[in-house]
Subunit: 198 residues, 2 copies
């Protein structure tokens, strides 16, 4: 068998992406090293050249997820002006992100994260709360500028914002992609908008 050799940096990236893809191709169970290796075109033992073990791989996947989530925050900050419009953009981006990589919720909720290592759980907790804090910041900016009402705590609003996508993602996930996330988000946004302005 001839497999091209690539630098470990590229491989690490590939492998972490492969985890999301494999979990996304919603056919099978908890990912296993063999599947991942197959996806990248390697043999299982080769993964150990790049990651100490399954645990380290998991860590890399979390980092990948983190970067994807925060990438959206960056994007709306750069491409959109005004808190309200940023929120709308972020909402749709978030929906798309979850649908396109539904390995993400699989990882976030995976049994793996909840067992053993408390650190693991805490890391995910920090990722999610960090993301919520970013949303909160955007909301607060809107409140300062007067485009978002001030009599609701930004923190609560941020959680509710997050709660628009979450159930939709769950349903989409369970329905094998049948449930219409974009439709839900499209319908829910104006309601949320009305709630936070006015």
């Amino acid at each position: 068998m001839t497999t091209e050799k690539l630098s470990t940096e590229i491989r690490k990236e590939q492998i972490a992406e492969a985890v999301l893809q494999v979990l996304g191709d919603n056919n099978i169970k908890r990912f296993n090293m063999a599947d991942i290796a197959g996806q990248v075109g390697l043999v299982p033992s080769a993964l150990y050249r790049h990651f100490k073990g399954r645990d380290a791989l998991m860590s890399a996947v979390l980092e990948l997820i983190r970067s994807k989530l925060y990438g959206n925050i960056e994007a709306v900050r750069q491409q959109t002006d005004g808190a309200v419009d940023r929120l709308r953009d972020l909402l749709f981006r978030h929906g798309q992100l979850i649908c396109q990589n539904h390995g993400i919720p699989r990882i976030i909720f995976s049994d793996e994260l909840w067992g053993q290592k408390r650190e693991r759980r805490q890391r995910v907790y920090r990722i999610v709360t960090g993301y919520l804090a970013e949303i909160e910041d955007i909301i607060r900016e809107g409140q300062d500028q007067g485009s978002i009402r001030r009599d609701i705590q930004a923190r609560v609003m941020a959680a509710m914002f997050f709660g628009i996508v979450q159930p939709a993602a769950l349903l989409w996930h369970m329905s094998d992609g049948v449930y219409d996330v974009e439709g839900h988000v499209t319908a829910a946004w104006p309601i949320f908008l009305e709630t936070i302005t006015r």
Copy 2:
């Protein structure tokens, strides 16, 4: 070792509950038969007197979850009058249910459900959509009676309602019970209320 013998009906119940408890005692990983057996005071092989295998056990746990969820629907229908008050009750009950048995989200999102059997996933899907349909019904009743505004689709409102608890549950879950779900729900309810009434 002397262990009391009990009828298989009682045992099945005990064992399914044990799964939720074990997963709830958020210490360790995906549940294993040994842990479950231990929790009930049995030896692993004894479980096979009551369930064909892990799969059948899983099925029983799903049924248990379903009954707990729909139990709340029943309860608010009987104990509370008026759509709006019913929704409020249901919201708090739901929050408590998830916090007290956080084995529930663990199961709902467990890797096990997503692998192999499509039936499994579909069963969970039906449980969740059924629950949402019940919420939708309550909302629609409110719309008919005029206590809830008619210009928002009941379906969308139901999903948003569901979305109040979900992020809170996630955070609570990940924070090892530190995150204040009741606080969030308490803060979010009046906002939601304002949204759905006038």
